[in-house]
Amino acid sequence: MLRAKPNRCNFFLPGCPARGITVRAGAGAVRAMIEATGLGKRFGPRHAVRDVTFSIGAGEIVGFLGPNGAGKTTTLRMLTGFLPPTSGEARVAGFDVVSQSMEVRSRIGYLPETVPVYRDLTVSAYLEFVGRLKGIARGEQARRIATVVDACGIGDVRGRRIGALSRGYRQRVGLAQALLNDPDVLFLDEPTVGLDPKQIVEIRELIKSLAGRRTVLLSTHILPEVNVLCRRVLIIHQGRLVADARPEDLRARGQGTLRIEVEARAPQDTLAALLARVAGVAAVDTVDINANGDARARVTAHDGDDPREAIVAALVAAGIGLRSMSVASASLEDVFLELVTREE
């Protein structure tokens, strides 16, 4: 399992565009761009989504998490007007998704899970087609296409047939069509699935660059993606919303007790025995050898205790060289798994 590195917090990286959102969201002047109230969808006897309620303000990038089959895609399809809900209602950009579907559709961009672009068209021809369908004025068309082609980095494949493009490029073409009408609200359904690591980074950069100006609901089951992109997470499981929080708050849920990782120049047994004697340490969880050949121990503190100074003092007193010490924050995975496995 991927464990978030201690002391690394993606949300406050300098230059991260997400910061701008924090300010705006904090100002309280945002109006809800996506609003779901008691939203539900039934397919025959099966409830794909039930009683989902949330509200997303303008400019937010919200991660929509859930295991496969949890109801993410169904929810997105309801919000984009592709599927009508069987109960509850949803408003996007202030318009009802059922009764004012056309108003909603002209203000959103949607990237479905499998990018279903027409394989026989060239990128340019496809974007022109989409532009007309989205009702972009003839005079604006060329400028809009140039803008999204540039933003999505598909300038060098404009003349190629979409069917001949690699998956990464096809995904970007999908993103380009979503952005073409300069939408207020973007729905992205697993935008990085099936891409290679380099393409994943590129697509994420692209999504990040949209922050602030647009509201983005990003469905994914890849947790690091949420870490990188989102200031807020919705977790859906078995059709129900089980969490709506900031990623750091979610992680804090797993942090009632402090977990400390200690690396020191000492035999494993010695280190373990020493740490177990330190006041405030509840248990020594694991001891192993790290890549540098140092002993590495993970310990759990007593509730409310922070025995870091005591550990340092004990190590110094024993003449053991301390190589590093850090607080292991609970990863989003831990919390996610806890939330989605709780009911089973």
């Binding site: 592709f82 599927l83 009508p84 559709r105 027409y118 021809a125 087609f129 007309r132 369908l133 989205k134």
Partner: protein, 256 residues
């Protein structure tokens, strides 16, 4: 309108950038040419016999001996070929998932249906227009009556349009092009032969079945008669199936 045109252009481009339109048109012209040559051959034979027996000559005309049977034969050929033009209209986008994106664009179902249907109708019109050289040949070497030929073509075009509407509807039902083509063909064939029952069913039902027959309504056109009854028949079949198609697209959202 702008959006309907975009759909239309996209579909036309697909027909002519893929082998679909060429294959269908080529087969159609091959069969049409064969039937034309055949009918003309029989007409020549009959003319030679009429020269020896002038009493028969009165009933012999290019219109009744060549054009009318030709239009009848083409009607059957179209029954086989037109489903191939319509089968992909919705089924393909359903399968590829493009429908999901298409119906989240600010485009009404009606625009999509009309655009797609008009594209298929255009290919069909091109196909039909390419048989006009036969008429030109007849006019050059013989003296056919222009009226019945014009009305015959109008009738055949309207009949084909009704078939295409039927095919558009069946294509909207699912994501299989094969099933769309098969059901269109089956339904079209039923419309073709439904009149056969007329002699042995109660006269009331017989009259209704006779009116439902697609060939029955083509006969008037082939004779040079443009009857509002026939016009209304083809127009209502067309509108009926396009309307059903719109209902299907709408209800698909609720079922899926």
């Amino acid at each position: 309108m702008h959006k309907t045109a975009a759909i239309f252009r996209r579909e036309i481009a697909y027909y002519f950038q893929s082998p679909v339109a060429y294959a269908v048109i080529a087969i159609f012209l091959l069969l049409a040419g064969y039937f034309f040559y055949n009918l003309l051959g029989y007409f020549n034979l009959a003319s030679l016999q009429a020269m020896q027996n002038p009493a028969q000559a009165g009933s012999l005309s290019l219109t009744s001996a060549v054009m009318q049977p030709l239009l009848g034969n083409l009607c059957t050929v179209l029954l086989l070929l037109l489903p191939l033009l319509t089968m992909r209209l919705f089924a393909e986008e359903r399968r590829s998932g493009a429908a999901e994106l298409l119906f989240t664009y600010p485009v009404s179902d009606a625009s999509v249906i009309v655009g797609k249907f008009a594209a298929a109708a255009t290919v069909y019109a091109v196909m039909l227009a390419m048989t006009l050289p036969y008429v030109a040949l007849l006019a050059h070497f013989g003296d056919p009556e222009p009226g019945p030929i014009v009305s015959g073509y109008v009738g055949l075009f309207l009949m084909g349009i009704a078939f295409l509407a039927m095919g558009t509807f069946f294509s909207s039902l699912g994501d299989s092009q094969l099933i769309a083509a098969a059901t269109t063909f089956g339904c079209g064939l039923l419309f073709l032969v439904v009149g056969w029952m007329t002699p042995f069913v109660p006269s009331g039902i017989g009259a209704v079945l006779g009116q439902l027959s697609i060939v029955h309504h083509l006969e008037g056109f082939a004779r040079g008669v443009i009857d509002t009854n026939d016009l209304v028949f083809y127009a209502s079949i067309t509108v009926f199936f396009l309307f059903l198609c719109a209902r299907v697209l709408d209800s698909a959202r609720w079922r899926s």
